[in-house]
């Protein structure tokens, strides 16, 4: 929010730039996210805190911020697998993976999620390993479709 009370819309490139500068100054980065690709663990307009990747080892289940190699868009999705050079990353609520992301394209790691002014504890703790596994079988997009089923049935039959 600017000093005039306006919301400042930052592009992917601007966010990446600010984030990298924050890390150079040994600071964390806090920003509001858009989209539904990480539902239900990170929702639209949640606020995430991101730290520099160099500070921690990156394991399966962690949520990473990276610049997509093709689109250069800033994406925040979950690591569902890795080898020594690359990460396999996918949104929890997306059916297809983001692909093989080189280590150097990982800009940051999400260390906290806030929603409506409160910390969300689900999705970043020890349960992240199970979430990564379930994400591989596309459980969460299916759950979202099921969630919409009552509404669909109501419209169809009532």
């Amino acid at each position: 929010m600017t000093q005039d009370g306006n919301e400042l819309l930052l592009s992917s490139e601007a966010c990446v730039d600010l984030m990298k500068t924050a890390f150079e100054k040994h600071a964390f980065f806090r920003m509001r996210v858009k989209g539904f690709s990480m539902w239900p663990f990170i929702k639209n307009r949640d606020i995430v805190t991101i730290c520099a990747p160099a500070h921690i080892n990156i394991y399966t289940g962690m949520v990473a911020a990276f610049s997509h190699p093709k689109t250069k868009k800033l994406i925040i999705h979950r690591v569902i697998g890795r080898n020594s050079l690359h990460f396999y990353i996918k949104g929890d609520n997306v059916t297809g993976p983001d692909g093989v992301i080189p280590m150097q394209d990982i800009i940051g790691i999400i260390t906290g999620v806030e929603r409506h002014g409160k910390k969300c504890l689900c999705g970043l703790g020890i349960e992240r390993h199970v979430i990564a596994l379930l994400s591989r079988i596309n459980l969460f997009p299916s759950l979202l479709r099921l969630r919409k089923l009552p509404m669909f049935l109501k419209r169809r039959f009532i």
Binding site: T2, L8, A14, L18, T21, K25, F28, R30, M31
Partner: protein, 100 residues
């Protein structure tokens, strides 16, 4: 409001991140080791940008005002009032610091 001295030197604080985004100068303070884009963000218009860019920690405020007067062909009083006004706000928000 802090007292502004024309003989003082001012510079950007180390506890801010300054970036040019979409043609605007965007300043994000670092608070408790967090660059928080959801906290207070400051933006500067063209005039503010011109003044802020001259606060380099090397020249006195009087020299900054004189340079602005020459570059933008405005009266000394107008340049002084704009500069002092902005420096007051930036000092209060701890975006700049007095170097000497």
């Amino acid at each position: 409001m802090p007292k502004i001295k024309l003989e003082s030197i001012y510079a950007s604080s180390e506890d801010v991140v300054v970036r040019d985004i979409h043609g605007e100068t965007v300043i994000v303070p670092i608070t408790s080791s967090v660059v928080d884009t959801e906290g207070a963000i400051f933006t500067l218009n063209e005039t503010g940008k011109a003044i802020f860019n001259k606060l380099d920690g090397k020249r006195k405020l009087m020299a900054v005002i004189n340079q602005l007067t020459e570059e933008y062909e405005v009266s000394f009083e107008k340049a002084r009032d704009n500069t002092v006004g902005l420096v007051e706000q930036l000092l209060e928000k701890k975006i700049i610091v007095e170097k000497g």
